[in-house]
């Protein structure tokens, strides 16, 4: 019996050498679980206004999804539901296979550590420097001081703020604040990044820098959901787009022009060209 197994394993190994692509079965199964899953979700606010109505959607691992629609269409409701800042009136929301409704309040911090969030108004801690703002999300999970000292400058270099470590948020421009908030969201390398109008307060040039940054994060394997009303830009980026109108999904298309192996710079060049912005712009 044991020898039989051994030979079986040996045969598998040979196959693996001949065909390097196939992945172990277990991993494939895991990947089939969507990172975000909304099943018939309805959210009615206390006042009676409808935030979402019977929305069902799935976002797979590593996807980059835009939630679009006019103000009040339910984009923010959707993001807030995913963070469990709100609870759905009916329907079920699952994150990485775990039903949000079943996560106890005590376990919520654990969930939030695995979801990076970026907001239109940045939500930085006003009395902390850039460095301390990013470090806080590591302190929260109990990282050692050495690793904080190593990781924070790294991530700030990545977002292009290595010279502003000791500035306070009110000394930064909007774009810089958003970079800090992205750095904070991504410093733990969460599997899911939610962004609610990340470019809502920014000019087009800065917006491109921010979008690029988010795109770059997506390229590391992080699933990204971006809510935005900048429909034109979204369409030009050719990513999966889910359009909401009055709380319902009216469009969900995996853009045919989606190019899986595009590098960040190629993407930026294309984006700048399509948006009609000059090539020389933000360093990122």
């Amino acid at each position: 019996m044991a020898t039989e197994e051994k030979t079986q394993a040996g045969a598998d190994a040979k196959i693996a050498i001949r065909a390097p692509q196939p992945r172990p079965v277990r991993r494939q199964k895991k990947e089939r679980i969507p990172v975000v899953e909304l099943d018939d979700v309805t959210k009615v606010y206390d006042g009676g206004s409808v935030g979402l109505e019977k929305v069902s959607l799935q976002v797979g691992r590593g996807e980059f999804v835009f939630l679009v629609g006019a103000t009040g269409c339910g984009k923010s409701t959707c993001i807030r539901l995913l963070m469990r800042e709100l609870e759905p009136s009916s329907g079920e929301i699952k994150i990485a296979g775990h039903a949000l409704a079943e996560i106890k309040a005590k376990r919520m911090p654990q969930l939030r550590r695995n979801i990076g969030v970026v907001f239109q108004d940045y939500k930085l801690l006003p009395n902390r420097t850039v460095y301390a703002n990013v470090a806080y999300s590591l302190e929260v999970i109990g990282e050692s001081r050495q690793s904080i000292r190593r990781k924070v400058p790294d991530i700030l270099r990545l977002v292009g703020l290595s010279t502003k470590l000791h500035s306070y948020p009110d000394e930064l421009s909007g774009g810089e604040c958003q970079r800090v908030s992205i750095a904070r969201a991504f410093v733990n390398h969460p599997p899911l990044l939610l962004a609610d109008e990340p470019t809502g307060n920014l000019d087009p040039e800065t917006s491109i820098g921010i979008m690029q940054l988010i795109y770059r994060i997506n390229r590391t394997g992080t699933t990204v959901v971006v809510a935005t009303h900048d429909k034109e830009m979204v369409d030009k980026m050719r990513r999966r787009v889910i359009e909401l109108r009055e709380g319902r999904v009216v469009r969900d298309e995996l853009s045919g022009l989606y190019r899986p192996d595009e590098s960040t710079t190629e993407f930026a060049v294309r984006l700048r060209g399509e948006l009609g912005v000059g090539v020389e712009g933000h360093p990122n």
């Binding site: 963070m83 800042e85 919520m108 911090p109 654990q110 969930l111 939030r112 550590r113 695995n114 969030v117 939500k123 930085l124 801690l125 006003p126 009395n127 902390r128 806080y136 999300s137 302190e139 929260v140 999970i141 904070r184």
Partner: protein, 299 residues
């Protein structure tokens, strides 16, 4: 390590939000000062009231013709009665001597030989408010409402009714008033401190919200606030105690030396008072911070 981090966070919070912290500190300082002054005053007042109440006595007059056995029986009965604190026997001779001293003219007119006064047991009740228990036990009222003494030796039971009633109602009112004031003051102090803390935390609710968004547990957020509360409460308390000590040394102590004749009612030991005030400051301030946060942590 964790504690040091929280301590650092607390100091960061204090230095970056110095205005609300200062407001909370001042509130604590003022209320502690007021309480520190008021507590001894309340005690002195109730002490005085109790002293006055001590003057409530019941006189049990003994029949002139009672024999020693009957007298002994009466004495035993008095001792057995509920609410009897102490019993003092005043013989008719000593009563006469005392009355003569108080009202010499009246007794001179009466003549040397005559002694109209009975032997008396002077009973001091344990609780002056329940003096009637004693009277009713020794001389229960009959159907017509007239007192009918039960024992052969007992002539009459008398409390100096007018005096007693006055004393009891006046001191009762004083005690009630001071107790009510003290209660109100404590309540006002706690409410004021809680409100100030609430305001200072309300100003930082956004900060709390952001901390939750990046996955901080509730206690991770709460500890620095509680430590801030402890620091502010302690500082306010120490300042108040310092001021109280100065006031005591410079104002009250010389005064009480000069008026040593004035009965100094027993007040709380100053060290104990200081300890109680300090503990109360720290506890109210820390608990106030921790509890106020609860409202903002419900997400």
């Amino acid at each position: 390590m964790r504690f040091l981090f929280f301590l650092k966070e607390a100091f960061r919070g204090l230095s970056r939000n110095s205005a609300p912290a200062l407001a909370a500190l001042l509130t604590i300082l003022l209320t502690t000062l007021v309480l520190g002054v008021f507590i001894p005053i309340v005690q002195a007042t109730t002490g005085t009231a109790n002293e006055v109440r001590g003057r409530v006595v019941v006189d049990v007059f003994v029949k002139k013709e009672a024999n020693p056995i009957e007298r002994a029986e009466l004495r035993r009965e008095i001792d057995k009665t509920v609410n009897v604190g102490s019993v003092e026997f005043i013989s008719k001779e000593s009563a006469l001597a005392r009355e003569k001293r108080l009202r010499p003219e009246a007794y001179k007119a009466l003549g040397e030989r005559v002694n109209p006064l009975p032997d008396t047991y002077r009973v001091t009740p344990e609780d002056p408010g329940k003096v009637n228990l004693i009277i009713n036990h020794l001389a229960p009222k009959d159907a017509d409402g007239n007192p009918s003494p039960t024992l052969a030796a007992l002539d009459e039971v008398r409390n100096r009714e007018d005096d007693t009633d006055k004393i009891l109602s006046a001191t009762g009112l004083v005690k009630l008033l001071t107790a009510g004031l003290a209660l109100l003051l404590v309540f006002a102090s706690v409410a004021l401190v809680a409100n100030t803390i609430r305001l200072s935390i309300f100003a930082r609710r956004r900060e709390v919200e952001v901390m939750q968004l990046v996955g901080a547990t509730n206690w991770f957020i709460r500890w620095p606030f509680v430590i801030e509360g402890v620091i502010v409460g302690f500082m306010g308390g120490v300042l108040a105690v310092l001021l109280l000590t100065i006031a005591k040394e410079t104002l009250v102590d010389p005064l009480s030396d000069r008026f040593a004749l004035l009965a100094a009612p027993e007040t709380i030991d100053f060290k104990l008072l200081v300890a109680i005030l300090l503990v109360a400051c720290v506890a109210v301030s820390a608990a106030g911070s921790g509890l106020t946060l609860r409202k903002f942590l419900r997400v």
